[in-house]
Structures are given as structure tokens and as C-alpha cells.
Symmetry: none
Subunit: 417 residues, 2 copies
């Protein structure tokens, strides 16, 4: 009894989008302990979709289809499924009502083309889409075959999967032996260095430990197979504890934790507040901090000091120091951090100034050179120099800068609490 992932969409064949839906469903199926051996991508073409269904139907019991549920004429997944299994399409008034209401909530009228999204194969049930207009279906067209469909929009698909599809699959008896994972997150250490430190854990069998890395963040996934989540957690806990001991302060959180969230918790515990002063990140640090719901209780705001005039006017950076040391310097980073505290009345001031590229670098100050300033209570101020590498992209240098600034504050706050 295995599942199969079928992604429908000519845009995937043209390479317009990356197929993240396959990865999402693959991870989710693994977590449920449901095996899957094949993934297929096919265009918005009824004949070819039917050929794929014919093959998949013979080798798998659960078909998960994404894409082709939109309002346009090339969205044909439901029509093709109905045709393949020899049933008609049925219009569901509750879907019309749902789409109408969603448009009305945004002050708009439902377009005529949306009407087709309300028709699903006869005998199938609606898999509700809380956020978009395209519902999916749950259908058992044959005794040994279960079909679930989802829109191609990842955010809609994820929610539908978690809220409706998973409970349904479990109610059918799948997902009994579960795989439960915990993801440990690290910042400020290279993947290879961490891997060497925890090498002994890579050989154990249950739980398994596997390293991942992307955009500067290193992760270790501890996965246990067990009868229940509680039993899996018992297997995971001692390994997690040992890894944390080895990693020390490079470990910053687990699972859904983010640097911004962890910093927020530490600030809240300490009853302290933060303001930022951003040059090369242009707001990216503030955006990360305010991505956390409830961040208004410790994050006051900040200055996007992109032009030097803003560094002077709002942050009171000394024009002479700007001229002498340049905007990208320890001195200016420190003054920006202090200026943030003064302008916004926060406990902490965190600043970033650097050269994100691709232009603007010199031999002396190459692209990727970034200074982070950190000012705290009682007038103390520090700064840190980073060289993220001139060959990195502008986006990545800005991302590293914002994350590293958060990590600097995190390490500082850890010493306070």
C-alpha cells in the first residue's frame, strides 16, 4: 500500500517553477510512514494525464495530485479524473457560495471563470481550501484506490494537507507506524565542522541523525520510528541532549524556531526592547523581527538608513567619522547602534552596514564586507566585522547579514539571562 505523487502543470515542464510540492508531500508521507516510490510530473494535457493515471493506478494505492484546479481553461485535473473513471462532473453549490463569499470579503465579485472550480467528479468529496478559491477532492473511485487533489499553490496545498488530508488518511488506517523528527538548528558554525563534532551520531539506527545546510543555517534532523509520537520523542530526547552539549551556543533552536523568534523570547524574558538601524539590509532585519507574531511587545522599530543623510539625521552618526572611516566601518556601525537606542528609546540597538554588491566593492572594502553594531544598556557598544565573500549574491549577503546580527544579539542576551 504505497502512495504516489503526481504534479500536474505545463509550467513545471517549462521549468517556470520549482517543484516544491513534491518535496513537501515527500516529507509529509515519510513522517506518516507511508511509503512512496514514484513522483511524476505531467503537463495540463488530458490524454497524458490519463496515461499517467493508468500507470500510477497499477502500482500505488493513494494518488496525490497537485495542480490544474485553477479557473482557467487549461486547468483540467478534475475533469480528467472524472473522464478517466467514467463519471460526470457535479457542481457543488457550497463551493460557489464559498468562492462568492471569499471575493465579497475583498470587495470583489466572483469572475465567471471561477464557476468551473465548483464542479468535481461525481462521488468525490470536497477537500476544503480555507484560503484560496480552488477546492480539492477526496475520492475513492475504486475499493483499493484513494485519490486526493490539491491546488498547485504551495501555501494553500500545505494547509489543506494538514487540516483535512492527514486526518482523513489516518482515519483510513494509514500512518500507524509513524516517523517523528526533531530538527535542531545552528548558526555560526560550518556544516562540515558540526558534522565532524557529531560524527558518532551518524551511525546510530533509531533515531537517525542527518545534517542539512542552507543559506548559512546548519540543521541536524533526528528521526525516530515508533508506534507513537511520545515513544519517538523518548528515543530522540537523549540524542538531542548530547548533541546540544557538543554544539554549545551554536545551537539556537529546534523545529519551527527562528533566530528572530529566539531573540524575541529572550528579550521578552528580560523585559527589554530592541530597535534596529539598517543600511545594506534596507529593512530585512526589521522584517525578520516583525515576522514573529507579537513582536510589538519588544520590537519598537528602526531606521532604514540607506542614504548617509539618514545616518546623520536620524541616527546622529558623526559626519566626520562617515567621511574619515566610510559608511562601512566599525565606527559607523557602533554609532548607528547607539543612535537607534537614542532615537527609539530601546534597551538594545542593533545595526548593519555593509557592501551587498554586486557593485561598490574596493580592494580595501570588498563586496561582502559587513559590520554589525550592538549597543546595550549602560552605554556599552560593540561591533563585529564579517567578510561573507565577494562572490556571494546580493540577496545572500543581505540574508547572512540580518541573520548574523540576530545571532550576535542572541549570544549577548544568553549571557544576560
Amino acid at each position: 500500500m504505497t502512495a504516489e505523487i503526481i504534479c500536474v502543470g505545463t509550467e513545471l515542464l517549462l521549468g517556470d517553477i520549482l517543484n516544491s510540492n513534491s518535496q513537501f508531500l515527500a516529507i509529509e508521507l515519510a513522517a506518516l510512514g507511508i511509503g512512496h516510490y514514484y513522483q511524476t510530473v505531467v503537463g495540463d494535457n488530458p490524454e497524458r494525464i490519463k496515461q499517467v493515471l493508468q500507470i500510477a493506478r497499477l502500482r500505488s494505492s493513494i494518488l496525490l495530485l497537485t495542480g490544474g484546479l485553477g479557473p482557467t481553461p487549461d486547468d483540467l485535473t478534475h475533469e480528467t479524473l472524472a473522464d478517466f473513471f467514467g463519471v460526470g462532473m457535479v457542481e457543488k453549490p457550497e463551493v460557489i457560495a464559498d468562492i462568492t463569499q471569499k471575493y465579497a470579503a475583498r470587495g470583489r465579485k466572483m469572475a465567471a471563470s471561477n464557476r468551473k472550480q465548483a464542479s468535481i467528479p461525481a462521488g468525490s468529496d470536497i477537500l476544503p481550501n480555507p484560503t484560496g478559491t480552488a477546492p480539492g477532492i477526496i475520492w475513492q473511485p475504486r475499493p483499493d484506490l484513494f485519490i486526493l487533489t490539491f491546488p498547485g499553490v504551495p501555501s494553500e496545498m500545505h494547509r489543506m494537507w494538514r487540516e483535512t488530508a492527514v486526518p482523513y488518511l489516518k482515519s483510513q488506517g494509514w500512518g500507524k507506524q509513524i516517523v517523528h523528527s526533531r530538527m535542531l538548528r545552528f548558526w555560526g558554525i560550518a556544516e562540515s565542522t558540526l558534522a565532524d563534532k557529531v560524527a558518532s551520531f551518524f551511525d546510530i539506527a533509531n533515531p537517525t541523525v542527518a545534517p542539512y545546510a542552507s543559506k548559512g543555517q546548519v540543521r541536524l534532523r533526528i528521526s525516530a520510528k515508533a508506534e507513537s509520537i511520545a515513544a519517538a520523542e523518548e528515543l530522540i530526547a537523549p540524542v538531542e541532549e548530547q548533541i546540544k552539549n557538543v554544539a554549545g551556543s551554536d545551537y539556537f533552536g529546534a523545529d519551527e524556531d527562528t533566530l528572530a523568534g529566539v531573540v524575541g523570547e529572550l528579550l521578552q524574558e528580560a523585559g527589554q526592547t530592541l530597535a534596529v538601524a539598517e543600511s545594506c539590509t534596507g529593512g530585512g532585519l526589521g522584517q525578520m523581527l516583525t515576522g514573529i507574531p507579537g513582536s510589538s511587545s519588544y520590537f519598537l522599530g528602526g531606521a532604514i538608513a540607506y542614504h548617509n543623510s539618514v545616518k546623520e539625521s536620524i541616527l546622529k552618526v558623526d559626519p566626520q567619522d562617515l567621511a574619515e572611516f566610510g559608511a562601512v566601518s566599525d565606527k559607523v556601525a557602533q554609532q548607528m547602534a547607539k543612535g537607534a537606542i537614542e532615537a527609539f528609546g530601546s534597551t538594545w540597538g542593533l545595526s548593519i552596514t555593509g557592501i551587498a554588491g554586486p557593485g561598490g566593492g574596493t580592494d580595501d572594502k570588498p563586496v561582502g564586507l559587513v559590520y554589525i553594531g550592538l549597543a546595550g544598556p549602560g552605554g556599552e557598544v560593540e561591533s563585529f566585522e564579517y567578510r561573507f565573500g565577494a562572490l556571494k549574491s546580493r540577496d545572500l549577503i543581505r540574508h547572512f547579514s540580518a541573520c548574523t546580527a540576530l545571532d550576535r544579539l542572541r549570544r549577548k542576551l544568553l549571557r544576560f539571562t
Copy 2:
């Protein structure tokens, strides 16, 4: 004569990695004008790989396989291909020499496990790997069937594709007719509404027109088949012109254009500058603007006015208005935009204040309610109310807010120029 992409790797079935190789090859095939209708992912399992080969062989003439060429025992792509077509494996001394030399250059000795990488199916040719140890193969095991294999490591695969595979495919007569596309981008119109407006274009054959949408941005892709890029562009141009006429100002750019980039160009043309005042987006608008290299010539900076005290101190929002109308109101949005101009000395001030959720909504002011303020030269100021929907995620509401603010300024600037 079509191609098919087959990605081999259990790590793809576990969701450990995102399948970027499929997207890369899809884009490359499209550019060569080689059609492909299916992509398959299968694990490192010889029986299942053979089943996939059996299916693909009957429907495609070029099979592109990635993955399974490594030195470990689970890397079995070449062995399985040889077995499927009933030939033996042949060890290639030149590959042994190449791997030995690559290790020597790094001061190492070739590991015993690498030896297996030097064996390829009898009758196939080596597809050289300039950067890694795993060569691919080019093989015509049947008169009507061409097989190319690549390692799963994207950087190695890309280089092998460009340096050896493409010239080979062209020498076989493929890639004579190219497909060239142009992506038109729209903001402020629903996919279904735009689709209704341009419905007549969906039926034409060359170029084709197809709609896409994600995160509020709607796109139309115009793809032409022709002998050359210039000839394709001639087919695309009149359709593009007509679509732009139909869409009016909802069209904002093409191909790599972004809202932030288009706004930047308009500001530069006008010799004007911009400052922002962000509440619920917390820096996201500034981040988008400064994502454009060279944005310092028109973007001065901004205030992240997350706490009301910052709205008052830096942006001079009237405390009484804050108390009477609330931070999320037309009045405050307008004052924030004006305040940005005054604090930063810019031509334009653009502000965002809203409720990004998930908490903080009321019946009166639900999650998703956002006000955008736009102040311009000569003291003029406007504001716009949006209801992005209480069920949308915090991230999406913030993304919509920042993009919509940019779009508002874009439309305003268009009337100026």
C-alpha cells in the same frame, strides 16, 4: 521525438532535497525546442528504475537521467541501464586516470569506492565531468533511443549539460527549432479577471499564451516556436502589444522586472527620491526596494514605525489621531507618508499600516486590513484601504501590503511621466 527527465535518488523520495535538476533540464529543453511531457522521480532501486525505463522508452526518444552515479553501493544507475538493455559493464582506464588525477590535485588518493564510477555500459560513451568524479554517459542503445546520464550534484550536472550534452544533441539534429518566451507581469488584477479579458489569446497556436499566478502577481507567458530568437520575437511582439493594450496599467513589466525595479526606474527617470514608513511590514518594503542594485540613487531610507511611539517621534503622527482613529487608519497612513517626506527629505513618502495577524483583529478592523499612504511633492497625500482577507497568513498579508504599496506608487509615477 520528445525527451523525458528521470531523476534517480531515494533522497528525493524522502524529501531531503528539492528537485532543482528537473527544473534546470526543463528550462534547457524548452530553450532547445525539444519537447518533453513527463518527469519522473524514482528511488535508488534497480527494479523500479527498470520499470520507469520501460515506460519512458515507449513514449520518449531522449532519456535524461540524473543521480545514482556516485561511489556508494546504492548508486546503481549505470548498472541498471546496462542490465535493462542486456549489455555488460566496461571499465574505462581514462576515467580511473581522471579520478586519480583529481584526487591528487587535492593532495589525496583515490578511494577504492571510486573505482566503480569508471565502469559504464558497453557501447556507451563517456560524458565527461570536469569538476566531479562521476562521469555520465551518452548512449544510443537502440536506433530510436538516446540516453544521457548526469550526476545529481547540480553544479556538476549543469556544466556537463552545457559543455557536452547540448553540442551532442545539436549534432544529432535536435534543437534546430527553438522556443522563446516572454513573461508579462501584472499587479492589481485577479488571475481569473485577466484570463477573462485575454481569453481570445488562449486559443492561438504560435505563439501560445498561458496564465500563471502566485502571491498576488499574475503572469502571462507568451511562447513562440521559431528558427531563431529574432524570428520568435517577431511572433511574440504583436501579441504582447495587444495584451498590454487590453491590460492597461495592470501590466507592470516583463521577464525579470519586479515592482521594486520598475518603481526605481520611474523614480530615476523623474529624478525623484523615496522614503518609506512601515508599520506592519516592519522593513519588508524597504528590503524590496533595496534588493535592486543601485537603489541608493533614489531610495533614501525609512522608518520602521512598529511601536506607536516611533510613529509619533520620528514621523510626527498626531497622538490624538492615533488615539481617536487607531494606528490602522487612513488618517495615520497619510500622516506616516507625510512624516517620511519630512524626516528623510524625499520627494515621495510611502507608508503601510495594517493588521498582519494572526492576532490583533476585531470585527471593525479584521486581520488583513491594511492602509497604504502616499505623499508626494507639493503636500499632496492620499491613502488606500485594502482588505487582503483574515484567513491569509501573516507572511502573505505583509507581502501583499509591500507589493501593493509599490504598485500604488508605480501607478502614481506613471501619471507623472
